[in-house]
């Protein structure tokens, strides 16, 4: 092997770094680790700092200087949840839905004989336990997840277990988010003009979030010996359908649960698609957040966003118990 410094600079020699480290090499040895660690610290502060500040500030009365001040209050949260008695409370989450039973339930009008009037002996009001908009969003996202499960688990099994032509292409299509949310929103505008917003939103959510479900379920399937499991179950007399439903699917429980949690959270906060598609009916949660951010006083918006932070924190804790590091599985997207 030729040494650095000889006359012919052949490419092999060029590729060998010089023996004596220069100032940069020395600096990298001494400070490199500190610099990278510092950078990571800075990134974490940049990402998490404002979250903590927002959450803390939402409990204060005002915030003018560097630190929030003016004593603790729950007013911001009450306004955001729409449960405070104030003007503009409808801009909150819509308050609790109060169901008032009608005085007259129905009238039975037979051609002969007297009219029967069915009614309740007293007025009935039912209060829902959670604010309407929040509950509606939770439900929409939940329907999206159900659709995701019906679609995602089978396709994940097909591409992991079987060999067939076009498998890789199908895999790529399944786990790449092909259509951005805003494009899909524009595409939905004239395609399903008469579809209620709720159904269009569920359809869109499930399409936009399906890669996360497939990735999560796939990672579970990959850790199982699918062929052996299937063959053992079949040899013991189970039909293929039974094998799939009672052996394979329960085995991938972890992936299915964490995929559902991730899909649900991301769908509940999906904004780009909802903003374009939503036209009427109860508002999804992300639009409520948007309205708060663009129209409301700072601290009230902070409280509104903190509602979502609480949801995400709960979900993250759940995911960590399942053995995932928060939303890290979604990092692929």
């Amino acid at each position: 092997m030729s040494r650095p410094g000889t006359d012919d600079p052949d490419p092999v020699t060029e590729a060998i770094p010089s023996r004596e480290p220069g100032w940069f090499g020395q600096a990298s040895a001494r400070y490199g680790r500190v610099a990278v660690t510092g950078l990571i610290g800075l990134v974490v502060v940049f990402l998490i700092g404002p979250v903590v500040v927002t959450f803390v500030a939402s409990f204060f009365q005002n915030w003018t200087g560097i630190l929030p001040s003016g004593g603790l209050t729950l007013q911001n949260w009450q306004l955001a949840l729409g449960i405070a008695e104030s003007q503009g409370a409808q801009r909150g989450l819509g308050g609790f839905w109060t169901f008032v039973a009608p005085d007259v339930l129905f009238v039975l009008d037979l051609p002969v004989g007297p009219r029967f009037i069915f009614s309740l002996p007293f007025d009935m009001t039912v209060q829902t336990p959670i604010p309407v908009a929040l509950g509606f969003s939770i439900l929409l996202a939940l329907f999206g997840v159900v659709l995701n499960l019906l679609v995602g688990v089978p396709i994940a099994y097909a591409v992991t277990r079987y060999e067939f032509t076009g498998r890789r292409l199908m895999n790529t299509f399944a786990i790449l988010p092909i259509v951005p949310g805003i494009i899909l929103g524009i595409a939905f505008l004239k395609t399903y003009p008469n579809l209620p917003s709720a159904i269009a939103l569920v359809l869109g959510y499930s399409l936009l979030k399906i890669p996360y479900m497939i990735l999560a379920v796939q990672s579970s399937f990959e850790s199982m010996d699918l062929r052996q499991m299937e063959e053992s179950a079949r040899a013991l007399g189970a039909s293929w359908t039974t094998t799939f439903l009672r052996v394979i699917v329960p085995g991938a429980k972890q992936g299915i649960v964490s995929g559902s949690i991730i899909c649900w959270t991301l769908a509940a906060a999906e904004f780009n698609f909802s903003y374009i598609v939503y036209s009427r009916g109860p508002r999804p949660f992300s639009l409520f957040l948007f309205e708060n951010i663009s129209n409301n006083p700072f601290l009230r918006a902070a409280a509104a966003i903190s509602i979502y932070f609480l949801i995400v924190a709960t979900v993250t804790a759940l995911l960590n118990r399942l053995g995932e590091n928060g939303f890290s599985i979604g990092g692929a997207r």
């Binding site: 590729a15 404002p50 927002t54 089978p154 494009i183």
Partner: protein, 337 residues
């Protein structure tokens, strides 16, 4: 007596390609039926959720009349877009544009500028967040941190936040009463109005810097997690050998680690750039730069120019699709997984 299964007609049906999948006789055919059955829900969702809407969108972009019924055929939205893109080209732009429009006059370069904004801003934020992502993934993989799992959880937290919340986080940090603004204001004694990065007029340097941080907020976590996957596959023996043979950490990184993670970096650049192009909520709140996604909002909600929006969306979609698949060819298939 013949049962339906034995009739000649059924046998002919069974012999067709689809028939063999639907009524299998051999085990191979049965397996093919299973694969088909497993894939059917996905294709149904893709058909109704993506394919039909996208085709309708394309139809809309070439429709003459779209307000009530979609009817007629015209290429004028595309002509208008390309004329505008042409008009944006420096020096010769006016002539290019004039040759494309029917009236012979140069078009307004607004779409050209918007597309250019999306591309350069996306590229700058992508490179920055991938570089930061490499540093984070490197540290998380190589160094011993206490509570490393918590660190990963914290870094991945913003993935769950929609763009509008990322924008609000920027207001918290860089707004008029934001933490950084107030801090710098106290430090330098300058009025915070000249320091704030949000709420500045659109297109000014400070406003764009604020949006830049807003993009980074959504993109750094994605880039970091993509690269963490790559780092997990790096052969540490080679790095240790390099260090033992006297290479400095910088040399080890440059000559040993970097060649190994290069495909991962390319993959991260592609996917992060896609993310950058599709960011919408952040721009909608901060209103700092007219990018393509922001233009959609104005086309749809302000003026109801649905055909131009559809044309622009079609171009946007084709670009991201081609870009992704071309790049996937040049990197390994690992990128997708």
């Amino acid at each position: 007596m013949s049962t339906p299964r034995e009739s000649a007609r059924f046998e002919r049906l069974r012999r067709t390609r689809i028939g063999r999948v639907a009524f299998p006789k051999t085990e191979t055919e049965r397996e093919r039926r299973r694969i088909a059955a497993l894939a059917v829900p996905f294709f149904a969702l893709a058909l109704f959720g993506a394919f039909i809407p996208l085709v309708t969108m394309f139809r809309l972009s070439v429709a003459e009349e779209f307000l009530r019924e979609v009817s007629g055929w015209t290429l004028s939205p595309y002509r208008q877009l390309f004329a505008s893109i042409g008009a944006f080209v420096p020096v010769v732009g006016t002539e290019i544009s004039a040759s494309m429009t029917a009236s012979g006059e140069a078009a307004n370069p607004v779409y050209g500028r918007t597309i250019w904004n999306s591309l350069w801003f996306g590229a700058v934020t992508t490179v920055t967040s991938v570089v930061l992502g490499i540093a984070c993934a490197h540290g998380l993989e190589k160094y011993d941190f206490p509570r490393k799992g918590l660190l990963v959880t914290l870094i991945s937290f913003p993935i769950s936040l929609p763009g509008i919340v990322a924008a609000f986080m920027m207001i918290v940090l860089f707004g008029r009463t934001g933490l950084v603004t107030t801090f710098l204001g106290v430090l330098s004694g300058v009025d915070p109005i000249t320091l704030q990065l949000t709420g500045q007029p659109s297109g000014t340097a400070l406003a764009i810097l604020g949006l830049f941080f807003g993009y980074l907020y959504s993109m750094i976590p994605r880039a970091t997690l993509l690269l963490r996957g790559t780092y997990a596959e790096v052969n540490t023996d080679a790095e240790e050998a390099a260090r033992a043979l006297g290479a400095t950490p910088a040399q080890t990184f440059w000559h040993v680690t970097l060649p190994q993670i290069r495909p991962g970096i390319v993959g991260a650049l592609i996917l992060t750039f896609r993310t950058a192009l599709a960011i919408f909520g952040t721009v909608l709140v901060l209103k700092s730069l007219s990018v393509v996604t922001f233009r959609f909002d104005q086309l749809i909600k302000v003026g109801y120019e649905l055909n131009i929006a559809a044309a622009l969306a079609t171009l946007f979609f084709l670009f991201t699709l081609l870009f992704t698949f071309l790049s996937l060819r040049y990197t390994s298939a690992e990128v997708a997984g």
